[in-house]
Subunit: 293 residues, 2 copies
């Protein structure tokens, strides 16, 4: 998915939120936004938003000399989600359709996204979880996902954010875990989950976890490690969490299922749904699937 | 009032809204935002936001070759406000305190501001008017304004937007009109009122109207005409409508009363009130008043 002119003001908002979270120095706030304004003025709109997002956050890490501005927030949300985990697991087990409930709660966890909302509060997360099981989901896509999970010999699960990956565990537990590889980012970017988060969330105890060797807030294949790319190429099924993965992989020829919340007007407009929609959808590009069937 | 880093993303939003309203050509949308990004990257934060606002809208008028993008909207809101006028006049007359009611409705009219909200809808204007008389106002400032109007030999009333100036008429009618000069902008800028609007709103029939010779969305004194500046210098009392006038004149040594709605977080933060507050306040700089008493 390409970037749009509407992404441009959003990069500035993100940059301001992120640099303010990292330092109280107004001179650094000003330098950051001026640098991001210049970068954005020259940016290539043909690339997906996460490519620029990574450059913005890279700049902030450099200017503020803070390698991981969101470390505390990530830890906090991992712990919070772990506190909720047993109750959420019970909700899945008690549901009429546990698979549907697990998918919805995995999507609910995607609300923990500090790229889209730097002022995200606990209450919003709680409300999203409480309303998760009432959200509509495309039934045929859900059934198809279930079939694909059942039939696949290898499944790649692309995680998104810290905290959210605990919610993913609800869905992972309904999957044949010996066939699954869970993927985190290669190094810190916003509040995206890294290996440290996977350990904190207990994922490494139940499933094989690899990192993708990149710190784009999505999956920019050409920048990922050979190990990850090989896993991506050979997977029968790829489950990709979050807007960033949708933005970067939606035109990729692979058997992809996207699970995310449409959190910005550009993405919501692209899929023709309101902001806030719980999305379960396949890749727009199904060539490879046709080819491999 | 100086600009802040938070004004920077806002200029981009404004630019996008304005250029989209003016043309459907995506190439012009992109050129506009890239140019505004570059301008904003280099902008002087020591000047008030309307200085930059004028440059942004100037650029859009030039790129789109449209001298007055908001002409239709201005006419529409003048007509709408005129349709409401008799009923509003009745509300003022029936009020326990007609002066307070007229001030509140003049502030309510300030919602008609396409700089702050390019997607402003009729319903929001209607809701603002309906709730106007329930808004709190600083009683002592209101009384002081009443006294100043009574005592002044010459009053300058700086209008803000088209449509809004019809609401100003409610307050003007309670003033000694022979002492009042009403001021509009020298040429089109956003939906700010010009002489054409003053004629449409019927203001020229009841009060002397001059233009300030400038098209900043506020009052940048050094750029105004000699005639306006002389009127500004000699006025005993200046009533200034709208955020733009507050932003540009709040540090000016003059007997100024500002009437506006705090419509953006930067201005709201500056005065320590929530966004949406109806504001009646004197200039922060009262040197000249002390000097002339």
């Amino acid at each position: 998915m390409k970037s749009t002119v509407d992404c441009m003001p959003c990069f500035l908002r993100q940059a301001l939120e992120a640099v303010r979270m990292t330092t109280d120095d107004p001179a650094l706030h000003e330098e950051t936004i001026r640098r991001v304004l210049k970068m954005t003025a020259e940016m290539d709109l043909n690339v997906p938003p996460p490519v620029m997002g990574r450059r913005v956050h890279q700049l902030i890490r450099e200017l503020t000399e803070t390698p991981d501005p969101y470390q505390k927030i990530k830890r906090q949300y991992n712990q919070l989600a772990l506190q909720w985990f047993n109750e959420l697991q019970l909700r899945v087990r008690m549901a009429d359709d546990p698979f549907r409930a697990a998918v919805l709660l995995a999507i609910a966890g995607n609300i923990i996204d500090f790229g889209v909302d730097g002022a995200l509060c606990m209450q919003k997360v709680q409300d999203t979880i409480d309303q998760a099981l009432d959200q509509p989901l495309d039934r045929s896509t859900l059934e198809r996902l279930g079939q694909e999970i059942h039939n696949a010999r290898s499944i790649l699960y692309l995680g998104d954010n810290a905290g959210e990956i605990v919610f993913d565990r609800l869905l992972l537990e309904l999957m044949p875990l010996e066939k699954v590889v869970f993927v985190v980012k290669g190094s810190p970017i916003i509040n995206d989950a890294t290996m440290e988060d996977a350990v904190q969330a207990g994922l490494t105890e139940i499933v094989r976890v690899i990192d993708n060797g990149s710190n784009a807030p999505g999956t920019v294949l050409e920048e990922c490690s050979p190990v990850f790319r090989a896993a991506f190429e050979s997977a029968d099924l790829i489950i990709a969490k979050g807007q960033g993965n949708f933005e970067t992989l939606n035109e990729t020829a692979a058997n992809l299922f996207f699970l995310f919340q449409a959190k910005c007007p550009v993405v919501a407009g692209h899929i023709g749904k309101p902001v806030g929609t719980f999305v379960l959808r396949r890749s727009d590009c199904l060539e490879r699937i046709v080819k491999t069937k």
